[in-house]
């Protein structure tokens, strides 16, 4: 708690004291942070080991995936350390084995995991995006306009609508202008409010940590 207090107060004050001394101190402390980050990574790996080891030991549901995790972890770390310079010949030229594993396993696996979201979003949009209230209806209309206008096909279809001038104003306005208004006026007003709320929350939480009111980061449940 004392460390949190001292560091919290120092970093907050440092920002308002532009002096070489405080700059040097900040640089020095930032090096500690780099070291701590490295240690935290090691701690993360130990925690991962512990979690999955116990899953396998208890034969928990889907424990087989934990086993796959160990194989993948050891394979990547082992190859990265012991075969760092070993190369394979690919269609595009030479590549390290580690790079090959990364490009051919990690990239497609992670991309696949994320792309599955598209299917869930489509299914959820069909089932849950209903105009049940006035607010939901407004959100739905805004979403449809933005989704329509953010893709070239939407712009192309909308451009086929004939336009005419009334008092120097084009009717209907271009879809780009409508989307731009939604994003830059309505959206930005809402985002500004959300951002302000988040910032105030961060300040409040930081003060609680600095003054020892919030102790959950030390494992306290009170």
């Amino acid at each position: 708690m004392i460390v949190a207090f001292v560091m919290g107060v120092f970093f907050a004050l440092q920002y308002y004291i532009p002096h070489p001394f405080t700059d040097d101190l900040l640089t020095g402390i930032s090096k500690w942070f780099i070291v701590i980050s490295g240690i935290a990574m090691g701690l993360g790996i130990v925690s991962l080991f512990y979690l999955h080891y116990h899953k396998i030991k208890r034969r928990a549901p889907a424990w087989g995936f934990s086993f796959v995790m160990f194989i993948a972890l050891f394979a990547m770390v082992g190859i990265g350390i012991y075969c760092a310079n070993a190369e394979v010949i690919t269609e595009t030229g030479k590549q390290t084995i580690y790079g090959w594993l990364y490009q051919n396993f990690m990239v497609p696996l992670q991309s696949t995991m994320f792309s599955i979201l598209a299917f869930y979003v489509a299914s959820a949009a069909f089932r849950a995006f209903r105009a049940k209230t006035k607010e939901a209806t407004l959100l739905l209309i805004a979403a449809i306009i933005v989704m329509f206008a953010r893709v070239p096909m939407g712009e192309y279809v909308y451009a086929q609508i004939p336009t005419f001038q009334v008092g120097g104003v084009t009717i209907p306005p271009s879809i780009g202008d409508i989307t731009s208004w939604i994003m830059k006026t309505i959206n930005m007003a809402a985002q500004g409010g959300i951002s302000l709320g988040i910032c105030l929350g961060i300040i409040a939480m930081s003060l609680k940590i600095i003054f020892g009111i919030e102790k959950s980061y030390m494992g306290s449940t009170k």
Partner: protein
Amino acid sequence: MNALLKKMANLDRRIIYVLISLAIVIPLLYPLFIEVNVNPEAKAVYDTIDNLPSGSTVFLAMDFDPASKPELYPMAEAVLRHCFSRDLKVIGMTFWVTGVGLGEKAFTDIAKEYNKQYGTDYLYLGWKAGGYALVIQMGEEGISAAFPADHYGRETSTMPILQKVSHLKHLDYLVELAAGGSIGTWYYYGKMKYKFKMGGGCTGVMVAGWYNLMKIDWINGFMGGLRGAAEYEKLINKKAKATRGMDAQSVSHMLIIAMIIFGNITYFVNRAKGNK
């Protein structure tokens, strides 16, 4: 009729999945080549890079991993192509350890296209633990102090590219390609203190928030999602992955809009008929 409406309202999700798959795969196989209009946000990034004098240095922060590759990787390629075609020097790094290989590939592939020399025309620092502390160190003590060795383990202090641009304050432009909140790290610990210009690119879901960042002058422009990447490809006159992907995104957006409308029609008809 009632039974049919009820069935429609509870359409099997597997049918939706098949429709979405077709909406994505067919346009990828048979592209429609619908022209993308360029928004002012992406144009601002392009103009900034385009107006830099030859020999200027651009820092490319590739803070994403393979999950966001379809949207952000084409941006990285397009920005690199633009920089190299204008004889600008590029320094790259990532805060995402799982994205380190993507940066390496982008730099290697595009540098080869333009016959650029490693260490002189471009440098890839890779990843190092530390987050914001690295930005502070690159600003205060220098880039080679934060990264004594590059991604390949080579000493950075002797590299020609870092002789003129040793600290963050020497950068002419920083392009942040973000799949998360790293833009804040670059702004609070970098731009605010060292006053370099900053632009960027973000995933589609982050676009709504990034309009605000442009308004409050964190960034002078940005590429939003796959569309932003396609716009940049159009600006540099090199249509690649993003432009091809836009057709799939067009059709899938239209399908989702149709499904939302269809879902609402069945909902209201069912409600009027007293169905649940």
